[in-house]
């Protein structure tokens, strides 16, 4: 978005949060029902937003229906506050919600809208995590008909999905789903937890914060309420495992910028053909750097 762009407020008199009150009310009803039925994809009338479907319009509609002037919003894309998608969405929300403040610090935020990551820092009860979802249905890989998928979800029938995972193991000795890992919520519905890496899936389990998922193009809202079991699908003899950041010598790779060995790392190819690893969560990386410099100055004194 052009940084000098402004909504034509004088002419159009946009409502707080851009959406009209009927739209918000409908989204709010869908949010409450999706909390009451954890993991169920509640249909809603996804509105046209002034950006293309697929750019996070589902998450944006959730954020706009939640946000008030007292809220502090953080928007991230792949862990970064500074990428194009995050910057545009943040700017749009602050243009249409006068009074709302924005932040890059996870701990200061009351609403965190995210694409493809859950922040490293554990969330608390005063925060809501909003995830942008491209494909909401985990069963779409095994069943093309939505009517049949709805019946399968209702009955908790995930045998065909488990068969797919089993076939992966037979063919590749590994479940080949790297992100959007099917996760069972509260022992019933299996959700597509949006394209977060496997590394983030355990963060959904028994989290103190509410997690909402919005799929704008597919017109679905679903939720993982706080303190709810979120169990990635796995087998007794092939347990769920997350991304492995150990090198050939068996040592955990550290972030090249902050040195953390406890974060999800992005692999950055360098010009000379070598690789570099860096924290995907930029706020976490900055915090680690500040902690380090804080201890360094402390030692000098």
């Amino acid at each position: 978005m052009n940084s000098s762009y402004e909504l034509p407020l004088d002419e159009a008199d946009y409502n707080f949060g851009f959406l009209d009150e009927y739209a918000k009310r409908e989204i709010r009803r869908a949010i409450l029902k999706s909390i009451c039925i954890p993991g169920y994809q509640t249909p809603y009338a996804s509105r046209e937003m002034p950006m293309g479907r697929g750019f996070g319009t589902g998450g944006l509609q959730l954020t706009l229906s939640l946000a008030g002037p007292d809220d502090v919003l953080k928007v991230i894309d792949q862990g970064s506050d500074d990428s194009v998608n995050a910057v545009n969405l943040r700017q749009f929300v602050s243009l249409t919600c006068p009074g709302l403040t924005t932040t890059t610090h996870t701990s200061d935020a009351t609403i965190i809208q995210s694409r493809h990551r859950i922040p490293e820092q554990p969330l608390n009860e005063s925060q809501v995590l909003v995830l942008q979802v491209p494909y909401p249905d985990a069963l779409v890989v095994v069943e093309p008909s939505e009517a049949r998928r709805k019946a399968m979800h209702g009955e908790g029938d995930y045998s065909r999905l488990l068969t797919k995972l089993y076939e992966d193991i037979v063919k590749f000795r590994e479940i080949t789903i790297s992100h959007r890992y099917p996760t069972r919520i509260n022992g019933h519905y299996v959700i597509d937890p949006s394209p977060i890496p496997r590394y983030d899936v355990p963060q959904l389990n028994q989290s103190p914060a509410l997690t909402l998922f919005g799929a704008g193009r597919e017109k679905k809202i679903y939720a993982v309420p706080p303190y709810t079991n979120a169990t990635p699908l796995a087998f007794d003899d092939v347990p769920f495992r997350t991304e492995d950041f150990h090198d050939d010598r068996g040592e955990r790779i550290a972030c090249a910028r902050c040195g953390s060995t406890r974060s999800f790392l992005d692999e950055l190819p360098l010009a000379d053909g070598s690789k570099r690893w860096q924290c995907s969560d930029t706020d976490y990386c900055d915090q680690q750097l500040q902690l380090k410099s804080g201890t360094l100055t402390g030692a000098r004194q």
Binding site: F16, R28, P38, A67, H188
Partner: protein, 192 residues
């Protein structure tokens, strides 16, 4: 004709403020918090929580039932909704001291979200019977005291959820606060 004494005061004086976008946002966040953390008594911060909840959630096109005739004509007109029997309604306004004499919409296996939301007025969230709640949104278990809720409500809530994900969700309202009881909860009476 509805006798004036049974009519909760204040709905016609309910300031139109309840429909202001920023008030609705605050009220919705209160509802969101209640449904996220069931069994917690959440203070509403607006007068008349029952009417505030209705103003936040209900609009035209949605069927609403008011079997106890708690809502005035003026308030119903402001909501703009259709009034139907409780069996067909998406939202049902009820009095907690009277046992439910209807089965609300419970949704279907494919579309459980069409299960009704019941707004039930009770006397208070102190004193009265004690219930132990377990389910999503509660870290382990939690205790809730409800005064002025007929036993049959809890039994009905548990019966309605026996074919989960079908079921009905309840919002108990009293004084200046509300408590959500979504269909996911297991509720057991605790004998003192």
């Amino acid at each position: 004709m509805i006798s004036q004494s049974r009519m909760p005061p204040g709905q016609d004086d309910q300031p139109l403020q309840a429909w202001h976008p920023l008030t609705q946002q605050q009220l919705f966040r209160g509802l969101l918090h209640s449904f996220s953390y069931p069994g917690r008594v959440v203070r509403v911060g607006q007068p008349q929580p029952l009417f505030s909840a209705l103003a936040t959630l209900v609009d035209q096109g949605l069927p609403l039932a008011d079997p106890g005739r708690l809502l005035s004509k003026l308030f119903l007109r402001r909501l703009g909704c259709q009034v139907t029997p409780p069996e067909e309604a998406a939202f049902i306004v009820c009095e907690g001291h009277k046992a439910p004499d209807f089965t609300p919409r419970l949704g279907s296996l494919e579309s459980p979200e069409t299960g009704a939301t019941l707004l039930v007025s009770v006397n208070a969230f102190t004193g009265g019977k004690r219930y132990r709640l377990r389910g999503p949104g509660i870290a382990d278990t939690t205790l809730l005291e409800i005064d002025g809720l007929d036993d049959a409500w809890i039994k009905a809530h548990q019966r309605w959820r026996s074919h989960y994900p079908m079921g009905a969700d309840m919002l108990l309202v009293s004084g200046d606060s509300w408590v959500a009881l979504p269909r996911t909860l297991t509720i057991m009476e605790e004998i003192r």
